[in-house]
Amino acid sequence: MENHVTQVAFKVNGEEHTLDIDNRFTLLDILRDKLNLTGAKKGCDLGECGACTVILDGKAVNSCQILAVKIASSEIKTIEGLNQGNTLHPLQISFIENDGGQCGYCTPGFIMGAYPLFESRRNVSVEEIRLALAGNLCRCNAYGAIIDSVVGAIGIKADG
């Protein structure tokens, strides 16, 4: 199986990793199985549900749709990299305050999906929030509270 392996160096949540990667593994597989970062979920493995959303070089992506060998030199941010210890990211605080998750399985994906919008530092309309999260499914259908949560986080940012 040796010839199915490629060595890849990349950064996750600021930390350098160099791994021998099975060419068949996706970025999601590497995060979950090799780095034990299980916040990103495998809801479909087909890029259809958004539960695996992470930030790859500044953009929200479905990590199940990216072969791990293609992430050389990339910087990845996952839900586990949002908070600084007990200091939660405004999005995380707002999802708690607005009951933005029920079963919680989609929650990391929604938060990471909203992250670039949050970082864009401009007035964001509810329509833009909906569009940014249109590729994320929540089967509890907590969509109302999710919109409230993102709106609330942007409010936190404006205040801070």
Binding site: T38, D45, E80, I96, G104, R130, N141, A142
Partner: protein, 753 residues
Amino acid sequence: MVDQNAHPPSVGTSFQRADLRDKVLGIAKYTADLSLPDMLHARVLRSPHPHANILSIDVQPALNMVGVYDVLTPFNVGGGKVAPDVPILDTKVRFVGDEIAVIAAVNVYEADAAIDLIKVSYEVLPFSTNMDTSMKKGNPKIHSQGNVVNGGPIVEARGNVEEGFDQADYIVEDSFTTPDHHPASLEPRAALASWDGTRLTMWKPSRGIHADKAILASALDVDPNNITVIGPVMGGGYGSKDETRTSVLAALLSMRTGRPVKLELSREEEFLAGRRRHSTFTKIKMGVKKDGTVTAVHVKTIMDTGAYLSSGPGVVRRAGQGALYLYRCPNVKYEGQIVYTNTPTAGSYRALGAPQGHFALESLSDQVADKLNIDPLKFRLMNHVGPEGQPGERTTPKNQIIDTQPVEGGIPFSSNELRQCLILGADAIGWERRDQIQTPTGSIRRGIGMSMFIYRGGPGGQSNAKMSLDEDGFFTLNVGFMDVGEGSSTVVLQMAADTLGVLPQMVRLNSGNTDNTPQSPMTAGSTLTFSAGQAAVRAANQLAQIVIESASEVIGLTDTEGLYITPEGVCSTSGDEVNFTDLVKKSGLLKTTVSVTPGSKDYIVNSFGAHFAEIEVDIETGYVKVIKYVAAHDSGKIINPRMAESQVRGGISQMMGFTFLEDMEIDDLSGVTLNASFLEHKSPTIMEYPEIEVIFADSIDPVGPFGAKSLGETPCIAPAPTIANALYHATGVRLNHLPFTPDNVLTALRKLR
């Protein structure tokens, strides 16, 4: 005894959902997130045929692969059963997707490659993907007892429907269908099994760890004392995820290989091997007098259970309760029949058969109102069942608890604020402007519709709780139930804390592990707040008594008079005090165990509600837009308003899928499910999420803990008929077949022209 003024009560406030912090941090652990050293990964070979006998299986090429450790087939798994009609693996397959063999390998990629090398020899059998074909005489039996479960329908009746129809001035009848509807939980089913030679530990998404343990023990022939079932956080259950074949297969592989084994279903497998809502065909007939009085209701429903029975009997019974009990009527009859087909198995999905039953009942009710030329809201205000219940004689013996789905009359409800729901909801949607908002010309047609519902109110099976005051001065509430994502653990904790008179932060909830929790029924039928709540309240009351008595001894008093519990400890009116930590140090661990049989011997405990929607129909495209939705619910006292509102809004949006989008498309020629993916099986997204106003009726149930009744499933019952009635109001076209896709709406509109 409890100092009510020490701090504001938690019940009635929006205390933060348990586990939400872990969920937003990404550290909440779901089954698939767990791994163990030396763990193997399993994958399943599934049937490509809808109906076939398996003659032989050649597994050798697969076993020869490096990285493959074991394979299960029907020929090496023993004779255990995971349900009466479901062997561990069977030599007969009954739908495209049925399990045939399972590979354990070093990773999923190797396991998938090995699956491709398994050669199966089949005797392909004739099959049927729909109920009509299944029920035809002489067609192949899917199970040995025949394709109609128990040979015929269940029949429930009150009074005499024939006499009732004789008294009617008008009889209105129609038929309705609902599709195969999949919960499509975002978390696919998974199981992690670890066998150490004598003990099995099983991690699985579970809505009943104790029930799962019993099934594992019986299927695997292992002493239940040697089995631990652990339910990690569940990624959406919605009533589903109650079957155990996946976990039994993982367990067997672990027992045979001596290594931990994880089996995760793919999204396609979750659609096929999960459980869907039963598709139904319903014939319904209502008799009324000219003055609007309902004289008879008769409903016949047949439901497609697919390849296996699962919870079909419970579902088919629940589908009839609206017809039997929502309208005040002396003569009602319900006949419900379940049919096997060669399709993916139907089972429990939020509100079981109630959405299907209410779709027919509440659509027909509007047709009856139309016939009488009475406003549909007024017709319901005239005829809805009131607090006094149904006419007739009680047949349940006086000393017995009343069923939450009664047929007999003569029993009042413990509380029934359906009328308040109708009035408040109508006011919120602006029912009085209903005829003004109609747009009889142009491409956009506007309309308002409504419907109402009745549902089980919360009493469930025997519920147990253990509660203790621990060394660190905190309380622990031990319960065997599972929070399936709906938040039951939070509201039960709030009730326990308030009963004790301490802050909810002082109470830990322990659940999810069969080793250290008391027996409990499954999380099912919207029973937890009521039933587990009653157990928690009783445990907290008993523990409070014990704490007070111990404090009296520790302080050195002769009795407990004047002693009361504060958030920190126990105080007396004369100024003595002892904090919880010191109390435990001096008197040892304080604990109690309770068992309650929830319910009432005098009243029916039921929940109610009325839903309203204003919609726009584009008659050029068939697209329907929900402008505003109002849900008015009587669930008794609301323990946690924000979570309750989340539950209602989520349930309605989820059922917008049932109403407009979702249908498992199963090809009649091949038996293949054509849309087993999120791309092909569309569900509601954040884009079409409508404005939803939630109203809770002012209601305190005298039986429920803190006045609460059931809520969890109830938001799912009324959406489809509410939209159907709004569609009729907007366009003059009645759609009797869900879902209302643009295609189906256009087809119906064309027929009118």
